[in-house]
């Protein structure tokens, strides 16, 4: 495995469950969160996993997600990253991201995180409108978000297109959502413009989605909330792209924008169908099948979701996860599902490397159909702006 691998670390605790959130997270009072034992469990999992790799691939990116991982004491993060770093090789340009909730950070804490090895921040702003923040159960206000954005901006000395010079954070991102029920195009535009004043090198703009099993879904079912207006979201989706591209950002993935060079390396690895190891409750790992001639392309494991069970299993059981084999044809479909999300589309080089394809490509007829519809570009394999809006229909066509 000569290609760098990504490492994801999951912190499953938060202070309040957001109404749209379907992540594996558990709301606890801060003093009830078992920081110490959870960090120990992460390290225990790491130690259990290590011997299975020979050698462990080099790490190109680390991502601490959650839950609210910025609740973690920076010292714990330092110890965790320190031990990992001592046991495997990190690439020179390794990207180490921490997801931060605006309500949980201070200048001091950010500096401590930086010293712990974090070099990129992702701030969960979601909205700069108090009405929506409150409606969805966010623990921060719009002013908290503005405050946090200032802190992050000052801690990351990047300005405009100037390259990172090694002081402060290397890069940062703001997470935003649009298309809340009731939100107007104007409101969203003003959120976006205000965020841009903070000069984020990277922006994630997600169309508000009602997922299965969320509080919001239940509220809709009981008539207490409205579903989003998908037509208006489509309009916002297009407007977002136009506005951000005018400001020097490139939409490099369906919901992600960056100034050149600031694309999220960790997420690019997912979209390029790269290998990754996930640590923590409910974390997913995906690894290629090493054995020659195996009918499966790879396998995916999902750690036990509930933190208590995950921690217990690590103590005395050799197994702490569920395993799913990925047959080659499924892998090919997933490869398209992920790769077509990228504006640049499928990388020919990766395509050939992963699926040993020569000139003859099995899905060519399908692409011809979509090219005729104007959904797939004429050269290469990527979605046109029109195709992007109907990505599901294109992606599902490749399923076995």
């Amino acid at each position: 495995m000569k290609y760098p691998c990504a490492l994801y670390i999951h912190f499953p605790y938060c202070l309040y469950k957001c109404h749209y959130c379907d992540f594996n997270s558990y709301a606890l009072k801060e003093r009830e969160i078992p920081f110490g034992s959870y960090q120990k469990a992460l390290l225990a999992e790491w130690r259990k996993r290590l011997p299975h790799f020979d050698p462990f691939p080099s790490i190109g990116s680390v991502f601490l997600g959650g839950g609210t991982p910025s609740l973690m004491p920076p010292n714990d993060v330092a110890d965790l990253l320190g031990e990992i770093r001592r046991s495997v090789f990190f690439t020179d340009d390794v990207e180490v991201t921490l997801e931060a909730n605006p309500k949980t950070i201070s200048a001091k804490k950010l500096e401590n995180f930086r010293q712990a090895g974090i070099n990129r921040l992702s701030v969960g702003v979601q909205s700069l409108n108090d009405a929506y923040l409150a409606a969805f159960g966010r623990i921060h206000s719009a002013d908290d978000a503005r405050e946090a954005l200032k802190l992050v901006r000052d801690a990351a000395p990047w300005r405009g297109a100037a390259p990172w010079r090694g002081a402060g954070f290397k890069s940062w991102n703001a997470d935003l959502m649009f298309g809340f029920p009731g939100q107007t195009l104007k409101q969203w535009e003003s959120d976006l413009n205000e965020i841009l004043d903070f000069g984020p090198p990277h922006l994630s703009c997600y169309s508000f989605t009602v997922e299965e099993g969320t509080i919001y879904r239940r509220q809709i079912q009981s008539g207490k909330a409205l579903p989003p207006d998908s037509d208006l979201q489509a309009e916002m989706f297009e407007m977002t792209g136009n506005l951000l591209e005018k400001r020097g950002y490139r939409r490099y993935e369906i919901s992600n924008f960056a100034h050149p060079g600031h694309e999220c390396r960790h997420n690019l690895n997912y979209w390029n169908y790269g290998e990754f190891v996930g640590l923590g409750a409910g974390a997913v790992s995906f690894l290629y099948e090493g054995t020659e001639g195996s009918k499966d392309f790879g396998y995916r494991t999902t750690n036990y979701k509930e933190p208590g069970r995950y921690m217990d299993a690590l103590k005395d059981s050799p197994i702490w996860f569920d395993r799913e084999e990925i047959p080659r044809e499924t892998a090919l479909a997933e490869f398209f599902m992920m790769g077509l999300r990228l504006t640049g589309g499928i990388s020919e080089e990766i395509y050939r490397r992963l699926f040993f394809l020569d000139a003859k490509r099995p899905n060519e007829p399908l692409f011809t159909v979509f090219r005729k519809m104007g959904w797939v570009g004429e050269e290469g394999i990527y979605l046109t702006p029109k195709g992007r809006l109907f990505a599901n229909q294109i992606m599902s066509a490749f399923l076995p």
Binding site: A6, Y270, E334
Partner: protein
């Protein structure tokens, strides 16, 4: 088995409303006469097919021969003849009844008599059957046998002083039924010395034997090797095998007057073995055929189409196999502009249609589109010609039509008195003609209407059920054709008429039904790449219009490493749903859209 003399034979059936315990009682009788050991007993052994088991309805009649050692020390031969229990199978029931001398009338001791039971009891009385009333489910807390006995006497007019109270489920009192069968039901009449005269009351197809027919020998005898002829078809066969069910099949050499059994005679198709036909000796025929024979004709028609055009041949094979076993079912190839190649299928009624459709999907694993069921209409043309059409799309141009006729049915609805108003209102809305309202007891009413047959296609059963909290029961019989002001309602999708969606409706209801239909279709048809215009039109006049807005986006906002499996499954689900839709022009229409008309009232 020792020979049991003529006078110790009893041929009987069980009459009951669905869920009143017919199958359970049959099971108990089979078990208690030793037909099957309890180890072999599966619940409801008479209902062979899974489908029957699930719906609790017996579709094919079967009969079992049982030997009962009575308290008088003698052995009696019982022939328990099973009958179908649904309104669609009215004629089949009548033939099964004429194979019996007696009937056990099972009435739920708390719910009392229902319309369907009534219709069958009246039929049994018409056939001079001795009725043995039994109150079932006596073990349930709300059982009220005295009240129900009184009700049975009032409604049916039979003596219930000797009615038996039983629980078929626990077996309580079933022994008394066995004794009553011996002492209160008559032995068969008829003579072994007369020329052979036997009634066909059921038949089915067996892959190895060909058609198997169930007969009741009225006069004479049947022997293996005998040449027989079927009087209505005029065809002649040689008897290859004779036998009876215990319920396991047992082969024998002869069947004599008064007996019930099966005949295998190298008959290739069940269609040659018409229910109600008379079997006689080819060389020495009886004077006349048994009375009551009727050609069974499908009354309800619908198109059945494969969703995938390449499944056409498989569908055809499946339909052929089904028809082998079901002489009431018919089909012929048909082409629809919208749906391509498929078949126009004929059924006895709506339930029969549902059963066939489910069997095709379940047993043959086919994905199908069924179009709205329709009855046969008579079209009188201005040139004096009369056409019978079983598909609205075959309707000739409006200018050439003088008038249309639709079939009428005679409907009996039995309902607790508190719901009479609702039932009457429903029948009036459905263009019914009130014939009689009969308070059989102060709280039980028999509502008698003549209704246009097509009216019960439009959500009638469900409506009736909900208007009477499930307490109404219904029975019907086809009467005649009557002139009505009917029009063809066309449904246009993006301006093009979709033949498979057109329906024939009464002119007074056309506008309303058109509006309801397009609004239902708008809910069912998912948003697509383009806006889809839905219109209902009579001739060139559009009476209703709805739009399915164009889909603007279909994309997952977030997809990272931990989401891959879940998002893939989401897309798989989406793809599956798409597979079940039919492309009509450039619009994808889901299966249920073609039956949408059934869901409007």
């Amino acid at each position: 088995m020792t020979e049991i003399p003529f006078e110790r034979r009893r041929n009987f059936c069980i009459i009951a409303h669905i869920d009143h315990g017919k199958s359970t009682l049959a099971d108990r009788i089979i078990e208690m006469t030793g037909g099957l050991s309890s180890r072999e007993m599966r619940e409801q052994v008479l209902d062979a097919m899974d489908l029957e088991r699930e719906r609790g309805i017996t579709i094919k009649a079967h009969s079992v021969r049982l030997v009962y050692k009575a308290k008088d020390g003698l052995e009696y031969e019982f022939n328990l003849i099973d009958t179908p229990g649904h309104v669609d199978f009215h004629y089949e029931v009548s033939r099964s009844l004429s194979a019996c001398e007696g009937a056990i009338l099972v009435v739920d001791a708390s719910q009392g008599v229902q319309a369907q039971t009534l219709a069958n009891v009246y039929m049994a009385l018409d056939h001079n059957l001795e009725i043995l009333p039994v109150l079932n489910k006596i073990d349930l807390p709300n059982a009220d046998p005295d009240r129900i006995k009184e009700q049975v006497e009032q409604i049916i007019g039979i003596d219930t002083s000797q009615a038996l109270c039983v629980s078929a489920k626990t077996g309580l009192g079933v022994d008394k039924i066995l004794e009553a069968i011996v002492h209160r039901l008559p032995a068969p009449r008829g003579s072994e010395d007369e020329p052979l005269q036997a009634l066909i009351f059921d038949s089915w197809f067996d892959t190895y034997q060909g058609a198997v027919i169930l007969v009741r020998v009225i006069n004479g005898r049947m022997n293996v090797g005998q040449k027989i002829s079927l009087m209505h078809t005029g065809k002649t066969y040689e008897i290859l095998k004779l036998g009876f069910f215990t319920p396991r099949p047992v082969i024998c050499e002869t069947l004599v007057a008064g007996e019930v059994g099966f005949v295998i005679a190298g008959i290739r198709e069940v269609r040659e073995t018409k229910i109600g036909d008379t079997v006689t000796d080819a060389a020495n025929p009886c004077k006349e055929a048994l009375s009551g024979f009727r050609e069974v004709k499908p009354m309800v028609f619908a198109g059945i189409y494969p969703i995938q055009p390449n499944e056409y041949e498989n569908l055809k094979l499946a339909l052929e196999k089904l028809r082998l076993n079901d002489s009431a079912f018919s089909f012929e190839p048909e082409t629809s502009v919208a749906l391509g190649f498929g078949f126009r299928c004929g059924f006895l009624g709506l339930l029969h249609m549902e059963i066939v459709q489910e069997r095709l999907e379940r047993e043959y694993n086919l994905e199908l589109i069924t179009t709205s069921p329709t009855v046969i209409y008579k079209v009188h043309l201005t040139n004096g010609e009369v056409l019978e059409i079983d598909n609205p799309s075959k309707m000739p141009p409006e200018g050439t039509i003088d008038h249309l006729e639709e079939p009428f049915i005679d409907v009996t609805i039995h309902v607790p008195s508190e719901y009479v108003g609702n039932v009457i209102q429903l029948c009036e809305e459905r263009r019914g003609i009130q014939k009689k309202i009969n308070y059989v007891t102060p709280d039980r009413v028999m509502v008698h209407y003549e209704l246009p047959f097509p009216e019960i296609m439009f959500d009638f059963y469900d409506k009736l059920k909900s208007l009477t909290r499930g307490y109404a029961s219904l029975d019907y019989e086809v009467l005649d054709f009557r002139a009505s002001r009917l029009v063809k309602l066309n449904i246009l999708v993006n301006g093009d008429p979709v033949d498979a969606l057109s329906v024939i409706v009464h002119r007074d209801h056309a506008q309303y039904r058109g509006r309801e239909l397009v609004s239902k279709l708008r809910e069912i048809i998912p948003r697509q790449q383009y806006e889809v215009a839905l219109q209902a039109a009579i001739g060139s006049k559009v009476v209703a219009r709805e739009n399915v807005k164009a889909l603007r986006k279909d994309v997952i906002a977030k997809c990272y490493g931990g989401d891959i499996t879940r998002k893939r499954k989401l897309l798989e689900k989406q793809k599956e749903g798409k597979k079940r839709m039919k492309q009509v022009g450039r619009v994808e229409i889901p299966q249920e859209a073609f039956l949408a008309v059934l869901k409007i009232d």
